[in-house]
């Protein structure tokens, strides 16, 4: 209880004073996670929809693998990206390790399977309803995929939000490939981990509350926007 009220105090103090360092951390967190989720959506939405519509040998296996990838441990993704981007790794020459770009790459890899797997389920349900009509109208498979993505847009927002939730909350991948370097790669979750390990529990909890509030605001805004659009277009 004591810790919680102290945390609340710390959070309020952080927000009221609008600490420069804190602002930097918040903006980097948002930049990394939102960029990663945007890329994950660009990759995951078409792949998920294609997997729902196209019929080819090995499709079921792919669906199972994709669903399993939703549970990919962030640390493992971080480790793989670390190995690839490290100086001795295949993409070492790019010198991206311990940069925000490396963090974006890791979080994209982490969230794209989530977006793709949820998209596959949503679009497949829609396809059972639409298939005969679209085939009757003469829609090609690729045209059907875009039509289904557009018609499923209100449900697919949830898939993308699930990806964002994963990106904003994970610490393992960004810690490994970013390194939690102050003013360079420190984000909310790595800062929380650091403050916790230093014993600053109240500050850590305060940061956590800010992170939670940000997530609430983003989800709330998306929900309201989606609701308005849904009311307009059915």
């Amino acid at each position: 209880m004591d810790n919680l009220s102290q945390a609340l105090n710390a959070a309020i103090r952080l927000i009221v004073t609008f600490d420069r360092d804190l602002a930097e951390i918040v903006f980097l967190s948002l930049r990394v996670s939102l960029t990663a989720v945007s890329l994950a959506a660009l990759i995951g939405l078409p792949i998920g929809a294609a997997l729902a519509v196209l019929r080819f040998p090995g499709r079921r296996t792919l669906v199972v693998i994709l669903n399993a990838l939703m549970g990919l441990p962030p640390v493992v993704v971080g480790l793989i990206v670390l190995l690839v981007l490290s100086r001795a790794g295949p993409l070492g020459v790019l010198g991206l390790l311990f940069s925000p770009t490396a963090m974006i790459i890791a979080q994209t890899l982490l969230t794209a399977p989530i977006v793709a797997a949820l998209t596959r389920q949503i679009v497949e349900d829609l396809w059972t309803e639409y298939e005969e009509q679209l085939r009757s109208l003469g829609a090609t498979p690729s045209r059907s995929i875009w039509t289904l993505l557009w018609d499923g847009r209100f449900s697919l927002v949830t898939a993308v939000l699930a990806g964002f939730g994963r990106a904003a909350s994970e610490v393992g991948a960004v810690m490994l490939v970013g390194g939690n370097i102050d003013h360079v790669t420190r984000v909310m979750t790595t800062a929380i981990a650091l403050e916790t390990s230093k014993g600053n529990l109240a500050l850590a909890l305060g940061l956590g509350m800010i992170l939670l509030s940000l997530s609430l605001v983003i989800n709330g805004a998306v929900y309201l926007a989606g609701d308005a659009a849904k009311r307009a277009h059915g």
């Binding site: 005969e132 009509q133 009757s136 109208l137 003469g138 039509t147 557009w150 018609d151 059915g234």
Partner: protein, 239 residues
Amino acid sequence: MESILPLSVENLVYRAGGSNLVDGISFKLETGLRTILLGPNGAGKSLTLRMCHGLLQPTSGTVSWHGRNASNEVLREQAMVFQRPVLLRRSVIGNITYALALRGIRRSHRTNRAVEALTRTGLGAMAQRAARRLSAGEQQRLALARAWALTPQILFLDEPTANLDPAATRQVEDIINAMHITGTKIVMTTHDIAQARRLADEVLFLHRGQLLEKSTAEHFLNEPSSEEARAFLKGELLW
């Protein structure tokens, strides 16, 4: 495009779950007549319709159009309206221009054709409404407007009024007749004898996957030749 009719069906079989749901049906449909596939539920009407339209692959047998196999060119001359209309989450007019775009109609022509189809089906004032927000009857009329805008040579309808009240049914039947008058071949399934009486020029009576009768509506409705058809017309329960 030259005529794709007559539609010839030879020995059509659809097998599923160990039994022949459509069991060796053959017929030939000429242009001009409104053809009703009549029969109780499970007779194989919808399956037959879907195989004709190319949505289902028959287990065996052939569907041919003026002696040719189905192709994209032949499909372009067909349209189908389903029991539950499948409308896209777009505006009313957007649903029609989408279908026209799939047929490769030039963008500048789409809106005019769509508005014309909406006007003919009494939906002109609703063009900008969300299609999914329409009533059931309006949705089915929109499905018909979409089909009409494609100016098909043949229109398949699968129990299009099964979910509608009498007033909406009347409107849908009026549109079907209007399309018939403008030269579209009508092929429709129903289990409703009164509807067959109102719309049919020609009746194909199906029962348990077999075509028991094919004759003019007048002949079938007044003096059916099969025992099953007599029972069906008397309102006895067939299965």
